[in-house]
């Protein structure tokens, strides 16, 4: 028979063949489809959570920065004035409260936003603030929305929010760092303070007339903007902005679900080996992970970080099951033909049955991306305590299976596969940090990882849901 006709004949025969389909095939397919859908949902949940956390962090950070710019402008104006010949705020020409009132009342129509035009007169003693003190017991605080302003931005007596102006990064950071937590969130308020008589000597507080707008800001934050604090603030803030860390973490994996059944088939020349086991004992061994993270300190308490992590651990598997070895023996058989009997080759199968104990060692190597958030609970005397939480997304996994004493190493004795993997762990830990140097920190973090989406590669018998209990030890360096 020619090749073409043989191929055509085979195509017809094989193409028309229908094999019996297992009864539960459709259920399995439907189940897998559901799982896939569920997987997609699970995949998007952490992604959405990560985006939300990042978005919140960015929003929070940019909010702080914007406020800082406004305050920084005030600071810069003040510095400009000092450079222009004044020796300080106390030396500047002063106006009385009444004078200021009169000046403001002359310009009612210049208020840019009448809805928020509660006008008050700023009174302050910058010299007192320079000493880092508040104005005294009689301090009255009123909240005025910042939109009070004049179209004439140069008008010295108008309470106006200073225009945004780019200033040096160092100054900006310094101001943010120096602000206490409650002040940062209330930067849109202005406190109007009345000085005690015993300090001022009369009801009139000293104020620089051209600096009215500036003083308005100074009444809130002047205590934090003094030049003597600036260098420290810059250094402190710089330390906290970005950081990188290197860590190693021994951990103990433990699994929630055990395997139920394993079957493996080995095909060798003239032999076939089938093993089915339903008694499987798994014992995960101690593993370790390590990685690099980079992060950002959002404020005094919150930080976000991400990086790359490598982890590896082994698992001892003990299986007991039934083994069937099929031997294919080629024999010659006498066949009667029209021309006389002829010898033809034939195959005879013989079987061996028995119980076999298999000891195997599985090794897993995983690459992951952690997305973490930290919340500082305490920071005293060079020691800080921080809550860590987030997700660890597994992106690739290498799986190696090594059966101890396997006589055939050709196929099943050692198996190895590396593949893109999908898996997700929730991470929670408590980090204790020591600050031996200004930029360097040492930390230890006992943590638990709960696997919410088990990781699997193609060669694994079954999905494993492995949780981890570990202790991370590492170094953190601030930039």
């Amino acid at each position: 028979m020619k090749h073409e006709s043989f191929d055509e004949w085979m195509r017809q025969k094989a193409g028309a063949h229908e094999a019996p389909v297992p009864a539960d095939a459709w259920e399995k397919i439907a189940g897998k489809k559901k799982k896939r859908r569920r997987f997609l949902i699970w995949w998007w949940i952490p992604l959405a959570a990560g985006i939300m956390v990042l978005g919140y962090g960015t929003w929070r950070y940019t909010g702080i920065t914007r406020g800082d710019k406004q305050i920084a402008t005030a600071d810069k104006k003040n510095n400009d004035k000092q450079k222009a010949g004044t020796t300080g705020l106390q030396d500047k020409p002063t106006v009385t409260v009444k004078q200021q009132q009169a000046m403001l009342e002359k310009q009612p129509a210049q208020t840019s936003d009448n809805n928020h035009s509660e006008r008050d007169i700023a009174t302050a003693v910058p010299g007192e603030f320079a000493k880092g003190k508040t104005a005294g017991k009689k301090t009255i605080q009123k909240k005025v929305v910042n939109r009070i302003g004049s179209n004439k931005t140069n008008d010295p007596a108008t309470i106006v929010k200073a225009p945004l102006k780019e200033i040096t990064d160092a100054t900006e950071k310094a101001q943010t760092a120096l602000l206490p937590e409650d002040k940062r969130n209330n930067r849109d308020t202005v406190s109007i303070q009345k000085m005690p008589e015993e300090r001022v000597g009369h009801d009139v507080a000293t104020i620089s007339a051209p600096e009215a707008a500036v003083v308005k800001e100074w009444t809130i934050d002047s205590v934090y903007l003094q030049p003597e604090n600036l260098a420290t603030a810059v250094a402190a803030k710089r330390r906290q902005t970005y950081f990188a860390e290197l860590y190693v973490s021994p951990f103990l994996p433990f699994q929630q679900v055990t395997q139920n059944k394993v079957s493996r088939v080995q095909e060798m020349p003239l032999m076939k080996n089938e093993f089915v086991s339903s008694r499987i004992h798994s014992k995960p061994q101690m593993g370790w992970s390590g990685g690099i993270n980079v992060g950002k300190q959002l404020n005094a308490r919150w930080q976000l970080m991400t990086g790359v992590q490598y982890s590896t651990f082994s698992e001892k598997i003990s299986m007991e099951g039934r083994e069937v070895i099929t031997h294919y023996n080629i024999v010659q058989r006498m066949v009667s033909q029209p021309g006389g009997p002829v010898l033809v080759n034939d195959t005879v199968e013989s079987y061996e049955y028995g119980t076999r104990q298999i000891e195997a060692l599985n090794r897993y190597q995983t690459w992951s991306i952690p997305l973490m958030a930290g919340y500082r609970l305490m920071d005293k005397r060079g020691v800080s305590l921080q809550l860590q939480g987030g997700v660890v997304v597994h992106i690739a996994r290498r799986y190696q299976n090594n059966i101890v004493g396997e006589f055939n190493t050709d196929d099943a004795g050692k198996r190895s596969s590396a593949a893109v993997a999908q898996g997700l762990d929730l991470h929670a830990g408590m980090r204790l940090m020591l600050h031996p140097r200004s930029r360097l920190r040492v930390f230890a973090e006992p943590a638990i990882r709960y696997s919410i989406m088990p990781t699997q590669t193609s060669d694994m018998f079954e999905r494993k849901r492995l949780h981890q209990l570990g202790l991370s030890l590492g170094l953190q360096y601030g930039f």
């Binding site: 043989f6 094999a19 459709w26 399995k28 897998k32 058989r333 034939d346």
Partner: protein
């Protein structure tokens, strides 16, 4: 229903690619999941069955390529002189043909399935299996001979 209509034929296809029944079941599952995922991309060009077969075959090849496989010729019995009588050939059932194809060594079987039954060219097979087209041709030739020999044996055994 799509599954009821084509599952038998696709299971047969999967068995021809798989090394055992369990693996064939896996191929079928993965294949149908892939079919349902990409069904909207079927544009009516060619038969639906042909499209499904090619999709499932690709899934099977992808899964096979994940594990180690090789063109092992040590276990191949010597090819006999094939029976040339068309009357004899016609007696062989589809089931027997299917079983004989499954008996082929993996390398032969893959090339034979892809070229003869699914209609892939040797160049396409070379890309799919990461082998040279010339290797695919030689594998096909050997597979064809061996299969003819197995069929001849089968016919002789039937006569015993």
């Amino acid at each position: 229903m799509l599954f009821d209509r084509y599952a038998g034929k696709l299971m047969s296809l999967c068995q021809r690619y798989a090394r055992d029944y369990e693996e064939a079941q896996d191929f079928l599952q993965l294949g149908f999941i892939r079919i349902f995922e990409y069904l909207h991309q079927y544009r009516g060009e060619g038969s639906l069955e042909g499209w499904m077969r090619r999709l499932v075959a690709r899934v099977a090849i992808r899964e096979i390529s994940k594990r180690k496989w090789h063109l092992d010729e040590s276990s191949i019995p010597a090819a006999q002189q094939p029976v040339e009588d068309p009357a004899v050939w016609s007696k062989i059932s589809e089931e027997e043909i299917h079983r004989l194809i499954c008996k082929l060594p993996e390398g032969y079987r893959l090339v034979f399935n892809l070229h003869v039954i699914e209609g892939y060219s040797h160049e396409e097979i070379g890309e799919l299996l990461s082998i040279q087209p010339s290797t695919s041709r030689s594998q096909l030739l050997k597979a064809r001979r061996l299969l003819q020999s197995l069929i001849s044996n089968q016919m002789n055994c039937v006569k015993v």
